[in-house]
Amino acid sequence: MAVIRDVMAAFELFQPTSVASAQKLLEQHGPDAWVLAGGLDSFDWLKDRIKKPKAVVDLSGIDELRGVRLSGNNGSDGIEIGAMTTLTEVVNHPIVRQKYDLLVQAAELVASPQIRNQGTIGGNVSQDTRCWYYRSGWPCYRAGGNICYADTPEGRNREHAILQADRCVAVNPSDSAPALIALDAKFVIRTRKGERVVDAEDYFVGPDIDITRLHILQSGDLLTAIRIPSTWASAQFYFEKIRDRNVWDFPLMNVASAMVTSGQNSSDTIDRIRISVNGAAARPLRLKAVEDAVRGKPRDAATGEMAGKQAVQGAVPLQFNAYKIPLMRNLVKRAIVGRPAGVEEATWAS
């Protein structure tokens, strides 16, 4: 199929200056409206003429969607990040760096500095999948069709899902999403019925529930902010992103953990932990079973090994992505014990 990459199809551009007017526009135009945040995902779609919205609502002029706000005394109760806050602003914010370094680690690994200057936290968690069959405009399940081109014997599915696939095998590409899940963040959504606050992990949906989108935003809805409670402030964090090109790339898989331990040495007891993996399924996965299994256990290689094995239970590889199973095992293990020298890791032979 020839893809036209010269100019975008015409659309009506709206540049509201308040959330209320943006929401009104979104409701007015319904499914014909496209929400434009940083534009890094949007312009791919628009320039490739795969998506041809009639109306584009540009959120960049809405000041109330920008910035990091502190809750309580100097952020003692947590922070609220406006959805249009750029990733660079998130990374450079002193309180975020001091207390929620997990998000800093994740956001710093998103693409390149230029992209982080333009890309927003709301856009990063709401971006669409990178499955190239889908992004090439092929009529797959996610595009409203009746086939998955990636889940075939000949399909190029090296980057695709090993868990929770249901007809579609695309994965979520966000780096900040697993970090926000590990930090127990809440997403604030403006809907037609008012404000709705959901847990970070509930913001995302798999193809079993809705095969055409990666998140719960319906037509007319707007993600306005992300709240991070102080529950995990200054905990022990781990973030790791595996990608083909270390300069800048989407993740093949990433892992984020927030942990509180007790004890003085390297095999402290794990008191509290939240752990999340992305790139394994169509939604970032919070590994609750792993959290339950390691809580109260020593933070050592044996616990990490057990956690890694548990994390990949039920994984079903496609033709070309079996490597993701040992990768996920190792990432989960590292998210618990770090990368101390001498600890053996799972291997994969093609």
């Binding site: 199929m1 405009g137 009746n146 075939t152 529930i209």
Partner: protein
């Protein structure tokens, strides 16, 4: 607004991918319109039922109080089919109207149950029941014509009493066969596109165009079934049809209803003795193909 959704295949061909989902609402509205039209007709225009001739007291005396109509096997089939059909319709169409849930697994499992029960029914009806009882015969067509003319005020003789099934039942059964078998046959092939326990997934079994037509036919059958099931439930709940509905639960209908609506010559109920009134007197009728076709 098209009736079908189209897409461009990777090879640049325009292919149908499924029906337009607004047709779901068209089917639902059609079902409700049928209710309104039928209720209006009954309320303001319908004449009392009248049948030709009368049943002799000697024949009537041989009819038991409880006339066996549906065997246990037939009733079980009906209700299993009903449960699977409702599951199929809800799992298919609720997500399309905004109720999101994990529907695919439930859908293909219900489809498997429906397919198995329909295969059972075909064998059961073909070899163990009166196969032809559910198909329209010459008298049905003649009487349908007479009823239409009489409804229009023309002087026609009244129709005969019904055989085991009125013509409307038989036509409905035919429509269900068409819609149901279309949905089942296309559904079985479509199962090769998702992961099931039955066979390896093979999305390339047919060309894009053939697959598209299959999805379209499946969708059309599905929305047809929405309207048909609505009409079926409506008639099942109507007061004058309750004896028939009850017979699908308990297996029998009353002697009075039988004598009022059915012709003992066209639907022969075998009895062991003229004075018998127990349902047990009809034991063994089914094996002789006299009681059940539905």
């Amino acid at each position: 607004m098209g009736l079908l959704e189209w897409a461009t295949s990777p090879w640049g061909k325009l292919v149908p991918i499924h029906i337009a989902w607004f047709l779901i609402w068209v089917a639902v509205i059609a079902g409700f319109l049928f209710f309104i039209v039928h209720v209006t007709y009954l309320r303001y225009f319908a004449k009392p039922k009248e049948f030709a001739g009368s049943i002799s007291p000697a024949v009537a005396a041989q009819i038991p109080d409880r006339v066996p109509r549906h065997s246990l096997a037939a009733r079980l089939f009906h209700w299993i089919m009903a449960a699977s059909m409702f599951t199929l319709l809800f799992t298919a169409f609720l997500p399309k109207v905004g109720v999101q849930f994990n529907w695919v697994t439930y859908h293909w499992i219900a489809g498997t149950v429906l397919t198995a029960s329909v295969i059972f029914h075909i064998i059961h009806a073909s070899f163990f029941m009166d196969f032809w009882a559910i198909w329209p015969d010459r008298i049905d067509l003649r009487d349908a014509w007479r009823r239409m003319l009489r409804a229009a005020g023309k002087p026609e003789p009244p129709p005969d009493r019904f055989a085991k099934y009125p013509l409307e039942n038989k036509l409905y059964h035919g429509a269900i066969i068409a819609a149901g078998l279309s949905a089942i046959l296309t559904g079985v092939f479509m199962m090769s596109r998702v992961h099931t326990v039955f066979f390896p997934r093979n999305p390339y079994l047919f060309s894009d165009l053939t697959w598209g037509m299959m999805y379209v036919l499946h969708g059309l059958s599905g929305i047809g079934l929405i309207a048909l099931i609505m009409v079926h439930v409506y008639f099942g709940l109507r007061p004058e049809k309750r004896p028939i509905t009850k017979s699908m639960i308990f297996g029998w209908m009353s002697r009075d209803f039988y004598l009022k609506e059915h012709d003992p010559k066209r639907w022969v109920v075998e009895t062991s003795s003229p004075s018998s009134s127990s349902p047990s007197t009809s034991k063994g009728l089914e094996g002789r193909g006299l009681t059940d076709a539905g």
